[in-house]
Amino acid sequence: MYIATRGGEEAIQQSEALYHLLNGELKRETVQRLQESLPYLVDRIMGEASLYCPELAALAIAQTGGDLYEAVLLLRAYRATRPRIAYAQPVHAREVLTVRRISAAFKDVPGGQVLGPSLDYSHRLLRLDVLDGKSDESGLGFTPSERPASPTYPAVADWQRQQGLLRNQDADDTPAGEIPDLTTESVQFPASRAHRLQALARADTGGVLALGYSVMRGYGLIHPTVNELRLGLAEVMVQHPVTGVTFSAGRVRVSQCEVVAPAGDETSYSVGFAATLGWNEVKLIAASTLDLNMAAHDEGSPQHPAHAEEFVMYHTEPVESSGFCIHFKLPHYVTFSSTADNVRKVTQAVLGASNAAVTHMPVSATPETEEA
Amino acid sequence: MNESSLPAYTLDEARDRETFIALTDAFSFPGRPVTLRPFDDADTPVRIGLALLDLETSFHAVDPLVESRLLHTGARRVSIQDAEYLFFSSLDPQKVNALRAVRNGSMLRPDDSATLILNCTFASGSVFRWTGPGIHQSIEVRLGAIPAAFWTLRRAAGPFPLGFDVILCDGDVIMGLPRSTAVQSV
């Protein structure tokens, strides 16, 4: 086996080694600390990678020195090599072990407003005393209640349906193996509902936020109402392919958000929905808003890119967008010279034959000065 | 992964890859016979099925032995009109008539169309002149055991880009007949 080696290969290896040298040694303990102390970062990466494994997500973050787009790419590439064993059973929000459930639509709802773990009402002050060596006591103020909270809560939407406020929709009972899967199929537009929701589930948080924000600010629906936001832990129930026994493959952090706005005809509310692996509230509120907004414009022609499904789905893809963005660092001198050829030819045509030899004429670094 | 270990090039990998390369050659140069290197006891149509089919594809086979071997790939067995891959060990006017239901694609999705794997003979039969992509000027091809009605059916499946694509098999030798090839009797 003959390998043609050139200087470029050595340069790559040195470049990669330097990167890792500057990040410090990659240790198992670092990965463990990351996983323990940065769960929201780990969740964000798992959600965008559409791969649930907190240890691998923490490893990806550590291995890339915290470059999140690189971390997501690592996980996605790894995910692509994993065998598919089985499809899990659908997860119903009503059955998820829910630790946080709030609704902005009503002051109180059946089951109650459950703040759960949140920084929403905290004062955003840097804990400088931690840097002075004081130990962190912020978690010590938590007092477990005598009565455990309910693990599950009824859906706000169910109450609204009973009231006739939401349009009734038949549940989709497509068998799991037949649900379209955008990781193994190419997406055609208009996209199936499954493809759209999957795209939003693993969309780039920043990208979804930017487009969602544009909708909230007025380039679309104004002020969607958060019907329900949930953070929870879902059991992944799998049926053994041979014995038929159903068992739990584990528990994953999941989050979901529903937003509503009056439908165009004002006779009911339309619903936007998004869910993802891990807990990522800002992404879900923006994503469900986009879902609602895209649905409103599916039939007609979108007035704004954030209304168009194709625009939203293509441009919120983290691996594709970041990869293509940084690909502009690659040499482009051939295409550049092709455009330079045009620029020169047009210049020559405009300025006339006296510039015919422009490619051979030296170009002064400084403008010629007039003789005194 | 161990940095220094190469992923294994198993016999199955080799068989499937060589079949795929042969198919690539067959479609790149329609009308030129391409010989498959023998591997185990699988007949050529079955080999083609093993190389291309899995649970993400659908097929239809007339021969029950071929069908049972292809079911093991996980591919879904469906009707002629739904199949992406069709395996016909022989053709008679009746079978040609059944092939009228085959998928020819749409203008928007011409790739959403069938691939036919047909047994025939290259040693005898009528002579045709083929032209089109992959063929330098023209090529003469002798084909036997194909009813004349098949060519009528094929013409009706077009115009380009609509149509279906054919892999002709005679023992270990295959020949590609993509929809882009124009066939004339000589």
């Binding site: 470029g8 090599t81 064993i85 293509y314 690659l330 045509a349 490619t359 051979h360 | 479609f27 992509p133």
Partner: protein
């Protein structure tokens, strides 16, 4: 119970792609060859290389390559570009294939933005990396609307945009990725190869596969297939002018050159095709090239290139 369903084997499949991904892209490549110029959608798995950096071309190569393959990988025509080196390293790591810088010895030639100068032969496969497979992008950014234009064989907007360039600039100012019609039917972007390389696709002896990983499309130009760049009957297709450019290492002329800015303000030139340059520099026999002494291989597809001093005052080339 879960452990019983998973194997503990950690090894990668041959050529990295798992069997499903491999079969899927193989199926799509075959359809692409059967429908020249048509962009076949495929699922395009993520690879350990960033999107936009050649994952499409890489998937095509990995579907084709075997231990006996001889692979050449270039970027901007150069074998030793870091990106080409990186892709080459990944391919050999995953397949055990041999590599070469000699275009004529390669069985698979993966390239970003160039087609080598030496004419390739039957049996060789050229894999071009494509960032944007849609030739209509500039006139129609929506993928679904562009797909409909292809279905309707409606390329009027493209012709119009070229005409507008003629009106504004006196010439077509489309750079690389020059829109070309394959087999008289599908308009393609031939990938961002310079106009210089576009005629090499026409009636070539080799198969060309064009793959876009991020955009998830694969298309093909079979051997001996017509590929005609869009041109008006009275305004010939023009390639990049290499007049007067002499390669400072080999002394070669009339081939595609890289322009190197020099410190004194002038420009130096060198052959972009590094494998070809290597042969010339070492006095080795190079194969026949597409562009010999100012004439293209296929007389008639293009007029000879026009030099700036040959243009008339209106900026048009001489007639005839």
């Amino acid at each position: 119970m879960l452990k019983g369903l998973v194997s503990t084997q950690q090894a990668y499949s041959y050529a990295y792609l798992d069997p499903y991904a491999k079969r899927e892209i193989r199926r799509r490549i075959l359809k692409a060859i059967a429908i020249p110029g048509y962009q076949v959608p495929y699922a395009s798995r993520e690879l350990p290389i960033a999107r936009g950096w050649g994952t499409g071309g890489l998937q095509a190569t990995l579907a084709l390559v075997g231990p006996d393959s001889i692979v050449k990988v270039i970027d901007q025509g150069a074998d030793d570009s870091v990106n080409a080196a990186n892709l080459r390293r990944f391919i050999t790591r995953m397949t055990g294939a041999s590599t070469t810088t000699d275009a004529l010895r390669s069985t698979i030639l993966q390239s970003r933005h160039r087609i080598p100068e030496e004419r390739l032969a039957e049996g060789q496969i050229l894999v071009l990396q494509v960032p944007d497979p849609e030739p209509l992008r500039a006139v129609q950014p929506d993928i679904s609307k562009a797909a409909q234009l292809h279905a309707d064989f409606d390329y009027g907007q493209m012709w119009l945009s070229l005409y507008e360039q003629l009106v504004r600039f006196g010439q077509v100012v489309h750079g690389a990725s020059y829109p070309s019609v394959v087999n008289g039917r599908f308009l393609i972007s031939p990938s961002p190869i310079p106009r210089w390389d576009t005629p090499k696709l026409h009636q070539a002896a080799h198969l060309t596969i064009l793959a876009a990983g991020r955009e998830k499309r694969v298309y093909a130009v079979p051997p001996y297939t017509d590929v005609r760049p869009l041109e008006f009957s009275d305004i010939p297709f023009q390639v990049e002018d290499q007049t007067g450019r002499v390669c400072k290492t080999t002394g070669a002329q009339n081939q595609f050159m890289n322009e190197i800015p020099l410190e004194d303000g002038t420009a130096g030139y060198e052959l972009s095709d590094s494998g070809y340059a290597e042969k010339l520099a070492n006095n080795l026999i190079a194969g026949p090239t597409y562009y010999i002494d100012g004439a293209f291989y296929h007389a008639g597809i293009l007029r000879p290139p026009v030099r700036p001093d040959e243009l008339d005052p209106a900026g048009h080339p001489p007639s005839g």
